[in-house]
Symmetry: C2
DNA sequence: GCAAAAGTGTTGCTTATACACCCATGT
DNA sequence: ACATGGGTGTATAAGCAACACTTTTGC
């Protein structure tokens, strides 16, 4: 294979927007309305505009797709893809951002998000190299859950410890002991803050409500059970 | 601030090449021979060429700068920077790769690396936004040391447990207990493999020699001492 | 013998896991 | 009363830090 001189790229900012719905991890996908890959399912995204920085573009896209206002709990760059031929239109590099949002009402019709829908993490074929991108981003999310307080980004404030545990169970796909989980997260400095209020579930004892704490990393980490069993 | 339509970028692949020299973490820096920032110190790198993928370009740059042949122990993408105005030539996105190499003889004269030199991690002013890039990459390296077997990439094979410990101490900047460290890494499945041979240090008992093991992640992690003290 | 680095044993503390048990609500 | 989820106590096991101690070399 021969390689030539420098070449001009367009830069796409693509988003992996994760949430938890019905106790399952879900990702926001769109149906493409134009070529290439018209009619295919794909990750939401768009081109970086003149004068725009990457985080700005990611936030703009996120708002356009979700209608989410105000500040985003979690939005972080994951990785860049630029393999030759990954986009039939020509040289396009894709900078991928991972966003984590609470359970949203529904994709908003009448906006750019009209063709958007929440989808379970399965093996739906995706346009471009988006299947690989999605896989990489989910693995990143699973890993981040251990060391960073991103689980709270899945929850609307205020939330209960049970809500938070449901996030871990959905993203990791494993059941956790409610009692030990409770002790762990409440004793972890800066992870969650007691609001003093309570919420009454349909049945059972009222649960204390918490908000996100100031910590930016979790120490000690919330380890997922036996990741490498032989 | 106003933003315009999509714009064409050139894509630079920049490298943060780390090694340990004289018990200190060191990074390979070059002196720029051309504008912009002529005469400034900068990270090595170059433009992505037509038909080339990002990992290919990163490996090519690494070889050009270090003369390192064969396979690279560690070379991984860190992050992409594309802030407007970060390069006076125009829209340039920089995809940054982190490389970790063993102690190399010297920057090779007569190659692209003629202007290269190993430099301690200090506050030398760097061209473009390379100071920030370097800082991000080093933090990534420090963090990776805990969960991934990257420390072995700093060592020429075969190596002793003392060599490996010196890597951790240099990168983290903290002393570690030799006895506990020894037990920890030798009992960690897949991290290092006994070669059966020994090496005699200038003084002291001969040390068993090891090679890199097959593990791609370390479990349980090698935790650095108290990262967040209050 | 002595210095120096490698490697092992042991102890005491911290942390995790498993699970018994109690609490506070709706029906 | 009882089902349901929230939250605490506790015993056992696993892991880790500190450090005494032994091994094997060069001088």
């Amino acid at each position: 294979m021969t390689t030539g001189p420098p070449v001009a790229f367009h830069i796409a900012v693509d988003l992996v927007i994760l949430t938890v719905r019905d106790g399952m991890l879900a990702v926001l996908l769109i149906e493409r309305g134009q070529e290439p890959y018209r009619g295919w399912t794909a990750l939401p995204g768009g081109f970086l505009r003149d004068g725009e920085d990457l985080p700005q573009a990611a936030e703009r896209e996120l708002r356009e797709e979700t209608g989410l206002g105000g500040l985003t709990p979690y939005l972080e760059q994951v990785r860049t893809y630029a393999a030759p031929g990954r986009d039939p239109r020509g040289p396009v590099a894709s900078v991928v951002y991972l966003a984590i949002v609470p359970h949203l009402p529904n994709p908003v019709p009448g906006t750019d998000a009209a063709a958007a829908r929440w989808s379970a993490i399965d093996t739906t074929p995706l346009a471009f190299d988006h299947e690989r991108i999605l896989g990489d981003a989910i693995e990143q999310a699973r890993s981040q859950l251990e060391n960073r307080p991103v689980a709270t980004a899945f929850c609307r404030e205020p939330f209960t410890i049970g809500d938070l545990r449901a996030v871990y169970e959905a993203v990791w796909g494993v059941p956790l002991d409610p009692r030990n989980f409770h002790r762990k997260v409440t004793s972890l400095p800066g992870f969650v803050e007691d609001t003093g209020e309570v919420r009454c579930p349909p049945t059972g004892r009222p649960a204390t409500l918490y908000r996100r704490g100031p910590a930016t990393s979790l120490y000690p980490p919330v380890q997922r059970p036996t990741p490498n069993v032989d």
